[in-house]
């Protein structure tokens, strides 16, 4: 079955570049140049994935993400310039699945799309309970974490934090989402908890905590558990 992708992007060059590179990869690509056009296409038929550019001529992407989340579980990947940090975080918190910073390579876009589509598949089926990458393996059902076959002992908070990242493996999880899910909604401003617990987690599961292989930092946005 061909997967359908909606690309919402107002720049003509980038739009046609995405269209051709995604078509080559076997996707059926629809494009929209504005939020209103995207809404019209979404009403007609929901795509399997949306690539949404920030800074569209007719308004705020956040509104569109809210609208999409009300009706569909369609994955949304946000594409933004580097200085649009705040907006990017807002969109991720509103339910967007991942983001890419301009300029990006086609390879990066395809990798993010693969992760997003895989999560869509599994979220409809069963929640992610296992994670395996290189020497690290995590099993959420048995609450075991192993590094090169050795069991790693985590405190309850460390485990909750890792488990939250495992459930979104490969995708960025914002500071806010992590703080809300691990500590509770009243702790969304306590970024320093995250810094301290991530440092402890890295010390336990990374070979070189200074250059982590698993617990990746998305500077200013959140964290990502490496998945490939």
């Amino acid at each position: 079955m061909t997967l359908r992708v909606l690309v919402v992007e107002d720049d003509h060059e980038i739009r046609s570049l995405m269209q051709s590179s995604l078509s080559v990869e076997g996707f059926e690509v629809q494009t929209a140049v504005s939020l209103s056009e995207a809404r019209a296409l979404l009403r007609h038929k929901a795509p399997d994935l949306i690539v949404l550019d920030l800074g569209l001529p007719d308004g705020d992407g956040v509104q569109l993400v809210h609208e999409i989340r009300k009706q569909h579980a369609t994955p949304v990947i946000v594409v933004s310039a580097r200085y649009q940090e705040t907006l990017k975080i807002e969109l991720l918190d509103a339910g967007a699945d991942d983001y890419l910073t301009k300029p990006f390579s086609v390879g990066e876009l395809l990798a993010r799309m693969r992760v997003a589509l895989r999560h869509r598949g599994t979220s409809l089926a069963a929640a992610v309970t296992q994670h395996q990458l290189e020497d690290l393996s995590v099993d959420l059902t048995t609450r075991t974490v192993q590094l090169a076959g050795e069991t790693v002992h985590l405190t309850p908070t460390e485990f909750k934090l890792l488990a939250r990242l495992v459930r979104s493996a490969g995708r960025v999880v914002t500071h806010r989402q992590l703080l809300t899910d691990v500590w509770g909604p009243e702790f969304t401003e306590h970024t320093h908890y995250l810094r301290l617990y991530m440092a402890q987690l890295r010390a336990k599961i990374e070979r070189d905590p200074g250059e982590p292989r698993h617990l990746l930092t998305e500077t200013g946005v959140g964290y990502r558990l490496a998945d490939v």
Partner: protein, 500 residues
Amino acid sequence: MAHVSDVQKLGVSPARGWTAVALLLAAATLCGVWLDPYVTITSQAMIYVLAIVIAAYKLDWLQSAVCAIGAVTALNFFFVPPRWTFDVESQEHFIALVVMLVVALVISHLASSVRRESRHAALNARRARQLQELASGLSISSTKEEILSLGQGALDDAFDGPNTLLLLDDGQELQGGADLSNEVRDGLRCCINECAVLGPGTGRWPGLDAWYLPLGEKGRVLGAARVLPARAADNDGREHAQALCSLLAQNLLRARLSASVQSVQAEAQRQQVQSTFLAAVSHDLRTPLASIVGAASALQTQRDKLGAAEQDRLLASIANEASYLSRVTENTLQLVRLTSLQKDLKRDWESLEEIVGSVLSRVRQHDTGRRIKSKVPAGLPLIKADPVLLAQMIGNLLENALKYSEGAIDLSIAAQGQALTISVKDRGPGVAPAQQDLIFEPYRRGDQSGPRGAGLGLALCRAIAQAHGGSLRVTARSGGGACFLATLPLDVAQPEQDAQ
């Protein structure tokens, strides 16, 4: 300094004045009675004259005149024969009494006019001194607010008030004074519109209870003042208020002019910076653009003639130059943003270990030989900082080192007292002492023949360090090479850790 307005009230209060009159007369009479056995009526008359002179010296005209009449009457009653009556026996005594009365009245008149004039002179002297003090105070104040507060102080010092001093804003509306009644606002408005003093004694709106004075001249009125109390006859008071107001207006005008001169200078400087910036940006952008256009057009027109290896080389060149362009653009935008809105930092508790980790994962793409050796101790304190900017700073320093040197590059982070230091050391050619400050200027490169485009990156790095209250400098490394050292203060107390 005593209140300037106090001078007008220096005299004795009426009740105490009249008591003094009674006491003086009683004392003179008692004195006369006591000396009666030893002296003649001439000496007793002299005692009364003394009382009259004292009264004339200390009391106002009416009180001293009453004292004079009383003294003559008392002398007549108590001592002039027939005593204990108001009758006068001899013609000589009668003439003496009349002369004494006239002399007494003349003395009290002269004394009180001398007193009035000296009081007036003292008031004028104080007013002159106040003007002088205000002028010297104003000469060292540069802002409108300072001038306004000095002016309000001077008015309150000179007049009982409540005095009001308001300025016009750019839209010619009165600033502040929302609590004033409509009548007062109308008065101020009208005095500004007519550019004339209103109130008692001015011939304009004499029925008002206060003087309304404009600040400035016709066509350049900057505000207005309202001064209380206002008496029609008090010309000096009104003139003093006018003098204060015109002094304030002059200084307000001076402050306004100097502000506009400053803004013109700042604008000229900004344009100067902008044009060097633009010239430099276009230089840094043109070279990679030329490579991209060259490679792309070669592929477009000569693809059939080019071998696969050559085509790959051209494509790699396009990709490399484009990513270089994107870094230059990123640095340029960040530098402009940082220098124009310094307060826009998004600070949060950050771990340098994490930031370094994320920078390394990106920079390693250009560091295939793993020349960068990083040393980040565990348990570093957290720093309240903008992570995106710090990552950009560390990334720029590392990319610079990769570009300008060949050997190993040492990145180390350390906590030293109340600061975190980030150092990047290479074994490249180093930076000559004369260049050590110049390389941080936007678009100035140490070595003009070296790889292009490093100048902006370092300027941005320093701007980032400074925006965090820190510093960035370069020193020569013993044994050759350069050492870039950023120091970031940990000026905020570390956050509390939770107990979980």
